[in-house]
């Protein structure tokens, strides 16, 4: 039982990072109906932004400290948000009126560009991510080892999810986002500036990916320019699983994939981990083709 609970915590921590990345995929899909395959690499850039910001931050806020960690997290979210906007402006906006396939291939191109530019500028060898958070002694509750980093991942994810929910549901720009996602032409006719909304969506999604990158690097402090590929892919699966275009669905999908993978590696065999996670995806899509929380798409003729 203790072992099961421990595995569950491991899975939740891993899954909530995937959930943060999955939100970016699903938001962009919701608005533009295309998969931004470069999203996993924004996650990688988030971790590297933290890597280079940490020594600079340490001159003002000595690291490791909670205040310093928040500054690093916030700044790299800001940098990645700006980067997301720039990528959208340069690579995707010129193709707005082109077939979706063109944009999709461009996204793959942007992804490869970021990965190899990363290898060129950061070097290919894995780097040690600095300790930006004080590591608290391991708390033991009835045989459970609670590690402060895992708890922080859960807490930060929860805070960001609530903040995102607030932005999307309660603010003016959030309402505009939902309007564009519902019908871009009608929203434009109603006076919504779709370009601003799309830029904002990219900024929001990229900031969440950067947060995921920092949380990931705190837990697994070895970062390299290709680190975004696998988590990006898994988060994409999570977004599809939860129903792409649906925000709570993406978070739920991330948690499901994370917990399934951890339980499979813990109890069956890590060799079949990915296979079983993808089998779960196929099973769910067989029963609910538009994902767990996805709405049925009505094909307009």
């Amino acid at each position: 039982m203790t072992e099961f609970l421990q595995q569950l915590i491991n899975g939740l921590a891993f899954g909530s990072i995937l959930a943060l990345i999955a939100l970016g995929y699903t938001m962009v899909y919701g608005i533009l109906r295309f998969i931004n395959f470069a999203h996993g690499d924004i996650f990688m850039l988030g971790a590297f932004a933290g890597f280079y910001l940490a020594p600079k931050t340490a001159t003002v806020f000595p690291l490791p400290s909670i205040a310093g960690a928040i500054v690093v997290l916030f700044l790299s979210m800001l940098i990645c948000a700006a980067l997301g906007v720039v990528i959208e402006r340069l690579a995707y906006r010129p193709l707005r009126k082109r077939p979706k396939l063109t944009v999709l291939i461009t996204a793959i191109g942007v992804s490869l560009f970021l990965e190899y530019a990363g290898q060129f500028f950061f070097g290919a060898a894995p780097k040690k991510f600095p300790d930006i958070l004080p590591v608290l002694p391991i708390t033991k509750i009835g045989g459970l080892s609670l590690n402060s980093n895992q708890l922080i991942v859960l807490a930060v994810t929860l805070i960001l999810l609530v903040a995102l929910r607030f932005i999307v549901m309660k603010t003016k720009i959030g309402t505009a986002m939902r309007a564009v996602s519902f019908n871009p032409e009608a929203a434009a006719l109603m006076g919504v500036n779709t370009d601003v909304v799309i830029s904002f969506t990219f900024a929001l999604g990229s900031a969440l990916a950067a947060a995921a990158g920092i949380l990931w690097a705190i837990n697994y402090p070895s970062i390299d320019p290709l680190m975004g590929i696998l988590p990006g892919l898994k988060a994409f699966v999570a977004a599809v699983l939860g129903g792409i275009g649906n925000l709570p669905g993406a978070a739920l999908g991330g948690i499901i994939i994370g917990v399934t993978e951890t339980l499979v590696s813990g109890y069956i065999s890590s060799t079949y981990r990915d296979a079983i996670a993808f089998a779960v995806l196929i099973l769910i899509l067989l029963v609910r083709p538009s994902g767990l929380l996805g709405k049925k798409e009505i094909e307009k003729v």
Partner: protein, 385 residues
Amino acid sequence: MNTLRTSIILAAALATAGLLSGCNQSSSSSSAGSDCVKIGEFASLTGSEATFGQSSHRGTQLAIDELNAGGGLLGKKIQLITEDNQSQAGQSATVVRKLISSDHVVAMLGEVASSRSLEAAPICQQNKIPMISPSSTNPKVTETGEYIFRVCFIDPFQGTVMANFAHKTLKLQNVAVLKDVKSDYSLGLAKFFKEGVLANGGKIIAEENYSGGDKDFNAQLTAIKAANPDGIFVPGYYTEVGLIALQAKQLGITVPIFGGDGWESSSLVPIGGAALEGDYFSTHFSPQDTAPAVQSFVKSYQAKFNETPDAMAALGYDSAMMLADAIKKTGSTDCTKIRDALAAETDFAGVTGNITMDANRNASKPAVILEIKNGAFQYVETVAP
């Protein structure tokens, strides 16, 4: 039908070999080829195992530079042609074909990782180009054929050494194994370690897997912790080992973790940090060895690259030096003769110990065990074959 097809394939292979082997036809190749001895090297200079590849390459480069400073080979300069395989599967085959067919090298040096040496070995064998792997320890590498050699010991030996060390020095009874299912090296080492532990009367009480490139090992480590072992054997690469040690400590696992030469890298301690203290690994070489040959190698390596050589650098150095020794003895760049001279190497004095080629073209030589202490690798003991 089957024999017909086999013979067609064979004929095609022979024709290709004839076309590609620049070795025996060095006179017919470009004029630049005649005033230097060309040696090919394929290495993981970038990508996931880059620090290994870089070290090995520096050792090789140092050997070639020293040889050239001493007048080269057979009155000619040696030209080392290095190709990067980016630590990626499939790339080694491509770059090795290029080295053989367009650069006309007389011999091949490489690689660190067994899986990538296994890719290149059949191509060298087919083209009858002698290949020396500096540090691929999986037995299958030299089983490819009579043109494939290595200057390091093999997994059965290393696995047995660690099993004996766990039994005799660390006095462990119940051991857990956490291996990388994606790597031939890790699987081989785990297999021979398990056999050694069982032969010593110990028990393997948990066996878990991961895939190279993974970052989260909490699931496997939680399962291992539940089995309550005396020690954990992790025959993986440094890229994962640091994170494994870190997550093990975070889960409250305090037993020693130990592994093989895949651990040795200057990137290991920066990632694993204090979590690695008191852990052990077996390797080929220790710069703390007081033998004069070792100390002079360490000195010239430090002078050239401004860092202390690791085992990969020492093996890269030995692979080039042993090849040069064989070419010197042969007195020509004839591939078959170089191969015969390599096969006959006995007690070649390398910086990683005296190397003797056995009947299977594997090096028979000692291993050293190092402990991670205060963030540095400390020499513990040498184990003879």
